[in-house]
C-alpha cells in the first residue's frame, strides 16, 4: 500500500505539467507554409507555436469568416480549468499521502481516477464544442463561402485528434507534453488503485 500511495502522489502530481507544457496542439501546414502554423493549447490560454502564428492564423481565417482566436479573457474555460486542475492535483496528492500512511482504502484512488476521467471527458467535450463552433459559426459576409458537394456550407473545424484536410491546409491535432503527462498520470493513479488493492489482499 505504501508503494501504491507513492504512485498515486506521482500520478496526480503529473497534472502540474499542464501549467508548464501545452496540453494540445493544432498544426496547420500547406504548400506555402513549409513551416506549419501552430496553436499550442495551454490550460490557461492559446499560444502560437512561433511568436506570430496566432496572428497569422487569424489573418488566414478572415478569408473564411472565422472569428479571431480567443484571448484567455474571452473564454471562461481558461480561468476555470487551471483551478480544477490544481484542485485535482492537490486532492490526488493528499489521497496518496493518506494512502502511504495506510489511513484510507485504495478505493479512493479509483474514485479520484473516475472523477478525473469525467472531468477530462467534459473537457474534451467542451473542446470539441469549441472547435465545432469556431469551424461553423462563420461570418455570412465571408470572402470565401465554400459549400460541400451536397450544397451544405463547408465546415472548418480541425479534428479533435488526428489529421483532416481543410482546403489547402493539412490540420493535425495531437496531445502535447502537458496532455501526455495528464494521461500518464491518470494511468499511474489507476495502477495505484490496482496495486493498492492487490497489497491489501496479500496482507490479508
Amino acid at each position: 500500500m505504501k508503494n501504491a500511495g507513492i504512485l498515486m502522489i506521482l500520478g496526480s502530481a503529473m497534472l502540474v505539467g499542464l501549467f508548464f507544457f501545452p496540453m494540445w496542439n493544432i498544426r496547420l501546414g500547406a504548400p506555402q507554409y513549409p513551416e506549419p502554423l501552430g496553436i499550442d493549447i495551454h490550460v490557461n490560454g492559446l499560444r502560437g507555436e512561433s511568436e506570430f502564428d496566432i496572428q497569422n492564423i487569424d489573418g488566414l481565417n478572415h478569408y473564411i469568416g472565422m472569428k479571431t482566436l480567443p484571448k484567455p479573457e474571452d473564454m471562461w474555460e481558461f480561468s476555470v480549468f487551471p483551478k480544477v486542475v490544481a484542485a485535482m492535483a492537490l486532492i490526488g496528492i493528499v489521497i496518496g499521502l493518506l494512502g502511504v500512511f495506510q489511513k484510507i482504502s485504495p478505493i479512493w484512488f479509483l474514485v479520484w481516477f473516475v472523477l478525473m476521467s469525467i472531468l477530462g471527458a467534459l473537457g474534451i467535450y467542451d473542446f470539441n464544442l469549441w472547435l465545432v463552433s469556431y469551424g461553423t459559426d462563420l461570418d455570412p459576409n465571408a470572402i470565401l463561402k465554400l459549400v460541400n458537394p451536397d450544397g451544405t456550407p463547408m465546415q472548418y473545424n480541425p479534428p479533435l485528434i488526428g489529421h483532416k484536410k481543410l482546403l489547402n491546409f493539412d490540420a493535425f491535432s495531437y496531445p502535447r507534453a502537458g496532455g501526455i503527462m495528464l494521461g500518464v498520470g491518470m494511468l499511474l493513479t489507476l495502477a495505484a488503485y490496482y496495486f493498492g488493492q492487490k497489497s491489501r489482499f496479500t496482507i490479508k
Binding site: 513551416e35 511568436e51 506570430f52 496572428q55 497569422n56 489573418g59 478569408y63 470572402i143
Partner: protein, 653 residues
C-alpha cells in the same frame, strides 16, 4: 505493314545506339559537362538548397547579386549604388539619402569588389563591403537583412578601384584610387600631371558593433594608378599591398605611355605604423566634402550627412611605413596567400606571375637594401624580394585565389584560362579554358586564412555563343569548376547580371540562420509608421499631405481618400502590418513619376505623388500578396487647387 515494322525496328535500334553512346561519353567523364556524374555535381534537386552563397558584383549595374553554388541559381539582386525600381531603393523617400554624395543625388555607380567581413582572418558573415568605382564610395551591406545599410563617399579619390578590401579583423576597409587627381581639386593644366597629382589610399575604420564606417586617414601617395590591393594576413597582418601601374605618370594615351616601364610597383603599406602615427596626433587635417549615408533598420530610414574634413598623411612624414616592390609589366591583381607569406603580382601584359616573399621583404628592409626611391619612398631590389615566378605558359594573368591546400589559381584574360599552380614550387599543375576571357575568379573564402576550396567561379568578360543569342547585348557568363581534385573539372555555365568584377562567397551555414524573415512591427520606429490600423489617418501641412496607411491581406487602410488638391505633395507612408514570412505588399499610384515601393512585413516606406490633374485616381498593391490581391486597391479624389473639400479618409464605410 512489313515496312512499318521495319521502320519501327530501325528507329528502336537507332535510339538504342544513341543511348549506348550517351552512356559511353558519360563513363569517359572527360567529355565535359555532358557526363552524368558532372551533371549530378551541380544538380540541386527541387526543394534542396545550395551548399554555398556567392555574392557577385554587378559592375555597371551598380548592384550586388546573390547566387547559390554549385547550382548557379540567382537568389536576389541587392541594390547598392543604383536606383532599383523593383523595391523602390533610391526612389522611396527613406532610401533617396543613400545615394546622396558631395555631387548631389547620383542614381548609379559601378560596383566592383565585394568582400565579406572577417574575424581572425576567417569569414564571419556579419557584413559584405563593396566599392563604387565611379563616384568613389564604399558600401556596407548587412548579411542578416541582405540590404545596403551604409555608404561612405571617399574624397580626394577617383576611380575607386583598389577597394573595398578588409583587414583580417575588419579593422579597416581600404579604398585606393585608380586615377590620381589634384588634391585638393583645382583648375590646372592636365599636362602638369607629373609630380602634381596625388593618389589617395584611404583607410576606413569599421565599428565592430554596428559596422559604421569612418575615414581614419588618407595616405597621399605619388600620382600613380593604384589598381588592386589586398591585406596581409597571419604574419603579414598589419600590412596592406597595392598594385600600381602608370608609374610613368602619363596623362594621355595610357595604353602606350603607361606601358613603358618594364616594372611598376606593388606598394607595401605598414598601416599599423601609420595608425600609430595618427593616434599620436600625426597627419594633416584638410577640408574635403564627402557624404556619409546610414540606413537605420529600426526607423527604416536613411540619413545623409555631409562631412567637411579628412585627415591626410604624407608618406614622407612616416619613414619606414611604405616600400615599393618592383613588379613587372603593369601588375593588375595583387593577392596574398592564406598564410600571408606570398604577395602575388599579376603583370597583365606578361606570361608569368611574380610572387614576392613577405619574409624576404622584411629582411631587405632590415638590411636597408634599396634600389633608389620614388618621391622619397624606398624601392626594394626586385631580386631581394622575389620568392619565385610562375612560368605559366598563359598570357595576361589577372587575379589569383587560393584553395587552402597550397595551390593558387590564376585567371588569364588573354589566353582565356584558369591556371592552377603550387605555392612554393611555382609549378603549373593544371589549366582549363574559360569561355571567354576571364576577369576575376572566386573561391568561397579564397580571400581569407581559411578558403573553402571546393568550387571555383570564373567570371568572364566575353559571352558570344555560350547561350541562346539575345541580340548584340547579352549578359556575361560565369563558369563553375570543381577544384576538390588534382585536376580542375568544368561543371557548369551560368549567365551573370551586369559585369561581375570579383565576388565573395561563403558556406551556407554561415548565413542561413541569421537571415531575417520579417521586421518586427513592435520595433518599427519610423516617424510616419503606424502599428495599428486604427492609427491610419491623413494630415495636411500646407501643400503637403501625409497619408499614414497600413496594409494587411488584402486591403489598404484607408482605401478612399478625398480632399487632395492639384499641386499637393502627397506622401503615402505605408506600414506593412504582416508579420508572416514572405508577405510583402507593394504600392503604386497612376501617373506617379517614380517607381513602385515594395514593403516588407513590419516595414514602413514612403512614396511621393504630385497629382497634376483633377479626378479620382486609383492605386493598387503591386505584389501578388494573396488570393484577393486583385481587390487590394483604393482611390484618391483630386480636386482643383482652389477647392475647399475637407480631407477625409475611410475604409468600408
Amino acid at each position: 505493314m512489313k515496312t512499318k515494322i521495319f521502320i519501327i525496328n530501325t528507329l528502336f535500334l537507332c535510339s538504342l545506339a544513341m543511348l549506348m553512346s550517351c552512356g559511353q561519353s558519360g563513363d569517359s567523364g572527360s567529355s565535359g559537362a555532358l557526363g552524368s556524374s558532372i551533371a549530378e555535381k551541380v544538380y540541386v534537386a527541387p526543394g534542396e538548397r545550395d551548399e554555398q552563397y556567392a555574392f557577385l558584383s554587378g559592375g555597371y549595374s551598380g548592384n550586388l547579386t546573390v547566387y547559390g553554388l554549385p547550382s548557379g541559381r540567382l537568389f536576389k539582386e541587392i541594390p547598392v549604388f543604383s536606383q532599383f525600381p523593383t523595391s523602390g531603393y533610391g526612389y522611396s523617400e527613406e532610401t533617396k539619402p543613400m545615394l546622396n554624395t558631395s555631387f548631389g543625388f547620383i542614381p548609379w555607380d559601378d560596383l566592383h569588389h565585394p568582400d565579406i567581413s572577417q574575424t581572425n582572418g576567417e569569414l564571419d558573415g556579419r557584413w559584405i563591403f563593396a566599392n563604387g568605382n565611379n563616384t568613389p564610395r564604399i558600401a556596407r551591406i548587412s548579411l542578416t537583412t541582405f540590404e545596403t545599410e551604409e555608404i561612405i563617399e571617399v574624397p580626394n579619390s577617383a576611380g575607386n578601384h583598389s577597394s573595398s578590401f578588409i583587414t583580417e579583423n575588419t579593422e579597416y576597409v581600404v579604398a585606393g584610387t585608380r586615377f590620381s587627381v589634384p588634391v585638393p581639386q583645382k583648375d590646372m593644366p592636365i599636362k602638369d600631371y607629373k609630380a602634381n597629382f596625388k593618389g589617395a589610399l584611404t583607410f576606413i575604420t569599421v565599428d565592430q558593433q554596428h559596422g559604421h564606417m569612418d575615414i581614419k586617414f588618407q595616405l597621399m601617395m605619388p600620382g600613380f594608378n593604384y589598381d588592386l590591393s589586398h591585406p596581409g594576413r597571419g604574419k603579414s597582418h598589419g600590412w596592406f599591398f597595392f598594385s600600381t601601374y602608370n608609374t610613368e605618370e602619363a596623362n594621355t594615351l595610357l595604353e602606350v605611355n603607361a606601358s613603358q616601364n618594364d616594372k611598376d610597383f606593388i606598394a607595401a603599406v605598414n598601416w599599423k605604423k601609420i595608425e600609430q602615427y595618427v593616434n599620436n596626433g600625426g597627419g594633416t587635417k584638410m577640408a574635403a566634402k564627402y557624404a556619409h549615408n546610414v540606413y537605420d533598420e529600426s526607423t527604416h530610414m536613411a540619413t545623409s550627412t555631409i562631412k567637411e574634413e579628412v585627415l591626410t598623411v604624407n608618406p614622407a612624414d612616416v619613414p619606414g611605413a611604405i616600400y615599393f616592390l618592383p613588379t613587372p609589366k603593369s601588375p593588375h591583381g595583387c593577392d596574398v596567400d592564406p598564410n600571408g607569406e606570398y604577395i602575388i603580382g599579376a603583370g597583365k601584359l606578361s606570361a608569368n606571375i611574380t610572387v614576392h616573399s613577405f619574409d624576404k621583404m622584411l629582411s631587405a628592409i632590415e638590411g636597408q637594401k634599396f634600389d633608389g626611391d620614388a618621391y622619397g619612398i624606398p624601392i626594394l631590389n626586385y631580386d631581394d624580394v622575389l620568392a619565385g615566378s610562375v612560368q605559366s605558359g598563359g598570357l595576361g594573368p589577372l587575379h589569383t585565389e587560393f584553395d587552402g591546400r597550397g595551390n593558387a589559381y590564376t585567371t588569364f584574360f588573354i589566353s582565356s584560362e584558369v591556371v592552377k599552380w603550387k605555392l612554393g614550387t611555382w609549378e603549373v599543375v593544371d589549366r582549363k579554358p574559360t569561355y571567354y576571357s576571364v576577369g576575376h575568379l572566386m573561391i568561397p573564402g579564397g580571400n581569407s586564412r581559411k578558403p573553402h576550396g571546393k568550387y571555383l567561379v570564373a567570371m568572364n568578360k566575353i559571352t558570344k555563343d555560350r547561350y541562346l543569342p539575345t541580340g548584340p547585348e547579352m549578359e556575361h557568363s560565369a563558369q563553375i569548376y570543381d577544384i576538390s581534385g588534382e585536376k580542375m573539372e568544368l561543371l557548369y555555365d551560368f549567365p551573370t547580371h551586369g559585369e561581375p568584377h570579383y565576388a565573395a562567397g561563403c558556406n551556407a551555414e554561415l548565413l542561413v540562420n541569421n537571415s531575417k524573415k520579417i521586421y518586427r512591427l513592435d520595433e518599427n520606429k519610423h516617424p510616419y509608421g503606424i502599428t495599428r490600423p486604427s492609427e491610419a489617418r491623413v494630415e495636411r501641412k500646407g501643400k503637403e499631405v501625409h497619408i499614414y496607411m497600413s496594409t494587411i491581406r488584402s486591403h489598404f487602410t484607408p482605401d478612399n481618400i478625398e480632399g487632395v488638391k492639384v499641386g499637393d505633395k502627397v506622401y503615402f507612408h505605408i506600414t506593412n502590418h504582416e508579420q508572416d514570412f514572405d508577405v510583402p505588399h507593394g504600392f503604386s499610384m497612376i501617373g506617379q513619376a517614380t517607381s513602385e515601393i515594395l514593403i516588407m512585413p513590419g516595414q514602413t516606406k514612403t512614396s511621393l505623388w504630385e497629382p497634376k490633374r483633377v479626378g479620382v485616381w486609383p492605386f493598387y498593391c503591386t505584389d501578388f500578396c494573396s488570393a484577393l490581391h486583385q481587390e487590394m486597391q483604393g482611390y484618391v479624389r483630386v480636386s482643383p487647387a482652389n477647392s475647399n473639400i475637407e480631407l477625409s479618409w475611410s475604409l468600408d464605410e
